[in-house]
């Protein structure tokens, strides 16, 4: 075992060093690897490209005999003959290549004359060939005996029945268009139409009928109205079954004799054998396609697992590149060492990929990603590598072993596969170690930068705990933090992927890029382009003509290319062209070519037209069939159900035939319609045929043109209509983008619209919230039971609102006075007068003129001078207020002190001696006012008000009297259930109020320590006090508070800061870093939970017994309440955790760093976080299991909790200087109460969101 351990140690160390090395010099290593790949792939250039193209082999004609059928391999000549060259070919193909021209050219000849009479000669030639009989000593042999006899055409080719020969020799010529009947030809008024009637309209890829019958590529045939070379060429294709040298020789000799080609230099020496590969049928493709589909599925599922990196796609690409190039390298290396692959590469390739696999790459990524984030990138890579080194090596050894076993199966195919796999594995390992690791390091570095940029809190007051070795250049980037308020930093984790609503994503993507419209436009353009190009009268013809005219490679070059002088026999001077074949015709106007040029009437012709057509034969004519589609011969044979797959045909050297016709013959052969037909004679003065063609288009031509234009216009119109239709659809489907409210110019910055990770900015809407005004100072506590809403402001007012309508039901303005008076009548009186006033409070926006005195008040900003120094504290009500009593205590009493003292001086005579226990309570004692003073009418005390409030404008200070804090101390906690309000005061007094009537039901005042938190659950009230004790009360009836049931005198050593109850358990959190769990019914302490390293600030418990707690150390702990064990522990925030909520799958936390983080509840992994506005850090609420609402600067935003998508942002009111929403309370009917300073806003969730629930 020690050996293994040592080996392991060594490997780990080596990988560590290697990781350091890779991450240090990324660019040179990548370059080096690229060079390696290229070098290893270099031998691949020598390999033939895979494909089904035919292979050729050339043998000399002399002494040719078909190769023997038998497989008796002759070892002496392995290199010369390819493997397939065994046995007789399927057929011998003899092409008789006819070049024909009308010469000399008369100006009164028509364009159609160029090819009509030359084509008519084909019939004569065919006759001659058919009737050729070889007579020699062995007897007579006719064509019928040696040619390939064909039978029926395939049943699917009925329409070609008249055109292709059946039951007889396979002999093809252009005459087949007219059933080899000269009369048909002469009676045909439209030769071109006949020829082209079977041409496909679309882009053609394989051989067409015209190609088959003409035997030359279409543009070489010269059968066209616009050609400037008046030279027609076609072939007569003869297919032989047997090779009969004598017969062929005699045929060649006879044809050459009948139609001599004077300057023919064709050597006719070689026989070309063309072997056709196996054709892949659908049936054979199915397994291959299946394999590839599986391969892609494998790659997809593999790369899907890459996450927590900057660019997922980039890494996936790198992984695939690694595997592919390792395969290429292996093939290249094998070739280099003389191993030529015999296996079909396309077939075994997927298996090789699967064998090599992407696993290592993924394991590496995962390992590196899971290293601590705060390490340096180099170290992270090195650690990740060394962590996985052992498993990588083990896997590789296993795979090599398996392959080695495979090698010993001694089956050649498997051996070869194994060899490839071994080399592939090794090169893959090489690439992983050098290429992928380096790419990964670059990626991680990028992510780190981006991540750091996002995560830093705005003030940068808490510098990140960076290691000392962090490069200094990161510092600068940290400072420039984007200040967009709502950027959500999403980490691409697998959780997100699992839950992504693809449909929505796609729609968003389409909406953003307008992909559909663009695609349709592009498609339309391409379609029109194809239409224009493929139309017979369209662009293609034009282009062909242009090419012919200009390009030296075109037909002109072919025909007029001067024959190389070396090829020409010296005895053939130029005038020899004029020597006409003796048997051709009588030639009355027999003229030499040079004599033609000076002829009057055709001066321009010589300039514009090419020189008179000289029938020349060059080497390129020898193998004109090469220019045919390589599917030409297979297509021809497949018509007769003969397959050429894995077989070969032999092409005999062509027999050149030159036909020279004089103008009279051309005139004689004219069809009567030709004279008045569409094609006027080529006017020499007009610059040639091409110019003449389009200028005087005949009816057919014009008709075609019009059709073309019609089609184009129709296509364009339909495209436009389609685009418009889709635009409309798009608008209908995504109306929200266009539904921008046409608001005034006073809107807030448009540039800073919140948007999510994908750049999609959701629509923002503006709704008028129900503003609940009535409080004079900042609202501190909020409580609700769904029907009612209780709020309490700094001044000590408690307001009860109807949560449905926003009506102010009750106000409890002066709790202290009631305590003193204890007169029911006066309370009711006060109630009445205040209810009258508060009517206007609910409807500020709707009927502002209803109660004039109140109009001023809502406008009053919160007293800035009083609390401007502590903006955060007021918003952290239930949690932070109690969490930081030390901070609050000195902060709050001071202003009160000022207010209270002065007022005490101004209206003396109040008795406030009985409650003096603590300094600030004493100071906070309020003067008791008579009800008559309460209405906001200017009273005698007014002049003091401005001074009291530290620079408050006097006209707004009218209600200042009501601000006086209660004599009982300020309200520290508030709970509401049914119609009962439980109030905990700083004086330690617990009061129960009736929310509807506004009467004090009962109170308890036994301990003077302030109540920091309250729980009111099922007639049971638990109060947590500042001194760490817990009081359990129970409410027997609505009016009677039973005496203290239990008291836990010393529940905690330090003040209790958090208190929550659910599922029969009560949880307390304290500043002494511990949590305690009590049973609610008997106050028995079940557990003391220790785990935080700071004061507990917030606690969450729900019915499922899940307990979460957050502390000042920024950590969140999840506990199991049943066992008291800690489930997980997460470092969540820089600074205090201010609030915590859980859903069934997530934990949502907010911190002093103004971040809201969403965690996976089961794994404790951070899913994403939301950057909040300054001061709105704790304002969040969970509406349903997947809907989160957060507050911002004058707005609330709705988020899809599962995906982290910003769904909607609702702006509350039009104020440009909106206040931050400091607190959000979610009511049962999905209204949200936001606390904007002294106002409450009742927001109903927009209807869009209701669909989501």
């Amino acid at each position: 075992m020690t050996l293994t351990e040592r080996l392991r140690e060594k490997i780990s160390q080596a990988f560590y060093n290697h990781g350091l090395f890779c991450a240090s010099y990324p660019i040179p290593i990548i370059l080096f690897t690229g060079l390696c790949i290229l070098a290893c792939c270099y031998p691949l250039l020598k390999l033939p490209l895979p494909g089904t193209g035919p292979v050729e082999f050339t043998t000399p004609v002399k002494d040719y005999s078909p190769p023997p059928v038998a497989s008796d391999h002759k070892p002496e000549e392995p290199n010369e003959q390819p493997e397939w060259y065994v046995g007789a070919p399927v057929a011998y193909i003899q092409q008789i290549f006819v070049k024909s021209s009308v010469s000399p050219w008369h100006k009164n000849l028509l364009a159609v004359d160029v090819f009509r009479s030359p084509l008519s000669r084909a019939f004569q030639l065919v006759e001659e060939i058919r009737n050729h009989v070889l007579r020699d000593s062995s007897g007579t042999r006719s064509l019928e005996e040696v040619c390939l006899q064909v039978t029926d055409l395939l049943p699917g080719l009925r329409k070609l029945r008249n055109l292709l020969p059946e039951h007889g020799c396979l002999l093809l010529s252009p005459g087949n268009f007219w059933q080899n009947d000269r009369e048909h030809f002469h009676a045909d008024p439209d030769i071109i139409g006949t020829i082209h009637q079977h041409e496909p309209k679309t882009l053609q890829t394989s051989a067409t009928l015209k190609d088959l019958l003409f035997g030359v590529p279409g543009k070489y045939s010269g059968v066209s109205l616009y050609t400037r070379k008046r030279l027609v060429s076609y072939t007569i294709t003869l297919v032989f079954q047997h090779y009969d040298a004598k017969f062929l020789g005699s045929l060649r000799a006879r044809l050459m004799l009948l139609h001599p080609s004077p300057n023919c230099s064709l050597r006719a020496e070689s026989l070309v054998h063309v072997h056709f590969k196996e054709e892949i049928g659908i049936a054979e493709l199915i397994p291959l396609v299946t394999t590839y589909i599986i391969l892609f599925a494998y790659i997809y599922f593999s790369t899907r697992k890459i996450d927590m990196v900057k660019s997922k796609w980039g890494l996936a690409l790198a992984a695939v590149v690694t595997v592919l190039s390792s395969l290429l390298m292996s093939v290249g290396l094998c070739t280099l060492f003389g191993l030529t692959p015999t296996l079909n590469g396309g077939e075994i390739f997927p298996y090789l990929v699967v064998v090599i696999g992407l696993e290592n790459v993924l394991v590496l990524t995962k390992s590196v990603v899971s290293t601590p984030v705060d390490l340096e990138v180099k170290l992270r890579i090195a650690q990740g590598l060394s962590n996985e080194s052992w498993s990588i090596m083990k896997n590789m050894a296993t795979e090599l072993g398996i392959i080695l076993i495979g090698y010993f199966t001694l089956v050649p195919a498997i051996q070869e596969f194994c060899l490839f796999a071994v080399v592939g594995l090794v090169s893959d390992f090489f690439l992983q170690m050098l290429f992928f690791t380096t790419v990964l390091s670059i990626d991680i570095r990028r992510m780190e930068l981006a991540d750091l940029n996002k995560r830093l809190p705005p003030e940068a007051c808490l510098p990140p705990a960076k290691p000392a070795g962090q490069p200094a250049r990161f510092e600068r980037q940290l400072a420039v933090r984007p200040s967009t308020p709502h950027t959500i930093t999403l980490q691409p984790s697998s959780f997100r992927n699992l839950r992504l609503p693809k449909r929505l994503r796609v729609v968003y993507f389409l909406a953003r890029t307008r992909l559909a419209q663009r695609l349709i436009m592009a498609g339309t353009v391409v379609w029109i382009g194809i239409l224009v190009y493929t139309d017979p009268a369209g662009l293609r013809t034009y282009l062909t003509a242009q090419v012919t005219e200009q390009s030296p490679l075109g037909e002109g070059a072919l025909a007029s290319m001067p024959v190389p002088s070396g090829v020409l026999p010296a005895s053939h001077p130029d005038p020899a062209f004029s020597i006409f074949p003796p048997g051709a015709s009588k030639l009355p106007e027999n003229q030499t070519l040079p004599g033609e040029l000076p002829k009057p009437g055709a001066p321009a012709e010589g300039v514009h037209d090419s020189p008179a057509p000289e029938v020349t034969w060059g080497t390129e004519d020898e193998e004109l069939w090469r220019k045919l589609s390589f599917r030409h011969w297979p297509t021809l044979f497949s018509y007769y159900n003969i397959t050429l797959a894995k077989r070969y045909v032999s092409l005999l050297p062509v027999i050149p035939v030159t036909l020279r016709l004089n103008p009279r013959e051309a005139l004689e052969g004219r069809h009567p319609q030709d004279g008045r037909s569409a094609w006027p004679p080529p006017r020499p003065g007009q610059g040639g045929l091409w110019e003449a063609g389009p200028k005087g288009p005949g009816t057919a031509q014009a008709h075609r043109d019009i059709t073309l234009y019609k089609v184009a216009a129709l296509g364009l119109a339909s495209g436009i209509v389609l685009v418009l239709l889709l635009l409309c659809l798009y608008r209908v489907l995504c109306p929200r983008n266009y539904g921008q409210p046409g608001s005034g110019p006073g809107r807030r910055r448009r540039g800073e619209l919140p948007c999510d990770d994908y750049g999609y900015a959701p629509p923002e809407t503006e709704i008028v919230p129900l503003v609940l005004r009535g409080h004079l100072m900042d609202i501190e506590c909020l409580a609700s039971d769904g029907m009612l809403l209780v709020s309490c402001c700094l001044a000590g007012h408690v307001c009860v609102w109807d949560a449905q309508t926003g009506d102010c039901l009750t106000r409890i303005p002066h709790p202290g006075r009631q305590h003193q008076d204890s007169g029911v009548g006066s309370v009711l009186e006060a109630q009445e007068s205040w209810e009258r006033l508060s009517d206007g409070g609910k409807g500020g926006p709707e009927e502002p003129g209803d109660s004039p005195p109140l109009r001023h008040r809502p406008r009053a900003p919160p007293p800035p001078s009083l609390f401007g120094d502590q903006p955060d504290l007021t918003c952290l009500i239930d949690t932070n207020f109690s969490a930081q009593p030390q901070l609050l205590e000195p902060a709050q009493p001071e202003p009160r002190y000022r207010a209270g003292c002065r007022r005490a001086q101004a209206s003396p005579g109040y008795d406030f001696s009985h409650l003096v226990q603590r300094l600030y309570q004493e100071e906070g004692m309020a003067p008791v006012h008579t009800p008559a003073l309460r209405p906001p009418s200017p009273g005698p005390t007014l002049p003091q008000a401005p001074e009291d409030e530290g620079g408050f404008p006097p006209e707004k200070g009218s209600p200042s009297l009501a601000w006086a804090p209660s004599a009982d101390g300020s309200i520290w906690s508030l709970e509401l259930q049914g119609s009962l309000i439980v109030v905990g005061r700083s004086s330690g007094r617990l009061e129960v109020w009736d929310a509807i009537e506004g009467t004090l039901r009962c109170s308890s005042e036994e301990v003077s320590s302030g109540i920091t938190a309250l729980v009111f659950l099922d007639k049971r009230i638990v109060a947590a006090r500042l001194n760490g004790s817990l009081d359990f009360f129970s409410l027997e009836t609505h009016t009677a508070l039973s005496p203290l049931q239990f008291r836990v005198p010393c529940a905690h050593q330090k003040p209790i800061t958090a208190l929550k109850a659910a599922a029969g358990r009560l949880v307390t959190g304290s500043q002494d870093h511990t949590l305690r769990v009590y049973r609610l019914e008997d106050s028995c302490c079940l557990f003391t939970l220790q785990g935080h390293s700071g004061a507990i600030t917030t606690v969450y418990i729900d019915q499922t017994m899940v307990l979460a707690s957050g502390g000042q150390d920024g950590a969140i702990c999840l506990w199991d309440v049943l066992t008291g064990s800690r489930v997980s522990h997460m470092f969540a925030h820089r600074g205090d955790v201010t609030s915590l909520t859980c859903t069934t799958s997530c934990v949502i936390s907010s911190g002093l760093d103004d971040l809201i983080s969403i965690w996976d509840r089961s794994t404790g992994i951070r899913l994403y976080s939301i950057q909040q506005d300054l001061g709105c850090g704790a304002s969040l609420g969970v509406i349903s299991d997947n809907l989160l609402v957060t507050g911002g600067q004058g707005c609330v935003s709705f988020w899809d909790l599962n995906y982290g998508d910003l769904l909607q942002t609702v702006y509350l009111g039009k104020n440009s200087e909106a206040q931050p929403a400091r607190q959000i309370l979610v009511l049962d009917n999905a209204a949200i109460v936001c606390n904007f300073g002294s106002e409450l806003s009742l927001v109903y969730v927009p209807s869009v969101l209701e669909k989501l629930d």
């Binding site: 299946t290 394999t291 599986i294 494998y298 599922f301 298996y351 696993e359 199966t409 089956v411 195919a413």
Partner: protein, 174 residues
């Protein structure tokens, strides 16, 4: 179940295919096998933990197709070589992707049953072997069936796991 149409085509691509393509009722068999594996896992109470990922399943399917492909395309010298190679490959497949005793047992059982059924069909003259080589049985048949069983089981388990997860999530939400 998606893999149902995969199996017959693959078994047809084996050497000297014993089934005419019209056999459609046999397409249900892989589905049954795919269901059987998670059931047995649940029954035995030992959930299958090894390599539970779709990419691994895809790899397994690819290897299975490759085994079929190789047995059809590669010409072996004799049948013993073919059988041994196939057997080694099948066991390798099981070791690479499954490694569970239940999987092995079920695979053997399926191979045995399937060979038996095929044999019965052949005796009844429904199908014909081109040449039985080993105890009147084509010796590659059990190997292919074994590998096929393992593959189908893999797919079935993966699907079942997914289903379990979805159900668990749903029940969690309620």
């Amino acid at each position: 179940m998606a893999p149902a149409n995969l199996y017959p085509s693959q078994s047809l691509s084996g050497p000297e295919t014993p089934f005419p393509p019209k056999v459609s009722s046999f397409q249900m068999i892989p589905a049954v096998i795919g269901l059987l594996y998670p059931c047995i896992d649940r029954h035995l109470g030992e959930p299958h933990k090894f390599k539970r990922e779709w990419s691994s399943v895809m790899r397994c399917v690819a290897v299975f197709v490759g085994i079929n492909h190789a047995s059809a395309k590669v010409d072996f010298d004799n049948n013993i070589q073919l059988s041994l190679t196939l057997a080694a490959l099948s066991i390798g497949l099981w070791w690479t992707f499954d490694r569970s005793r239940s999987g092995f047992g079920l695979g053997i059982g399926i191979a045995f049953l399937a060979t038996l059924v095929t044999q019965l069909l052949v005796y009844n003259g429904v199908y014909q072997y081109t040449s039985p080589d080993f105890l009147y049985v084509r010796s590659w048949l059990p190997c292919i069936f074994f590998a096929g069983g393992i593959t189908m089981g893999n797919i079935g388990r993966q699907l079942a796991m997914y289903e379990c997860k979805v159900i668990a999530e749903k029940s969690h939400q309620e």
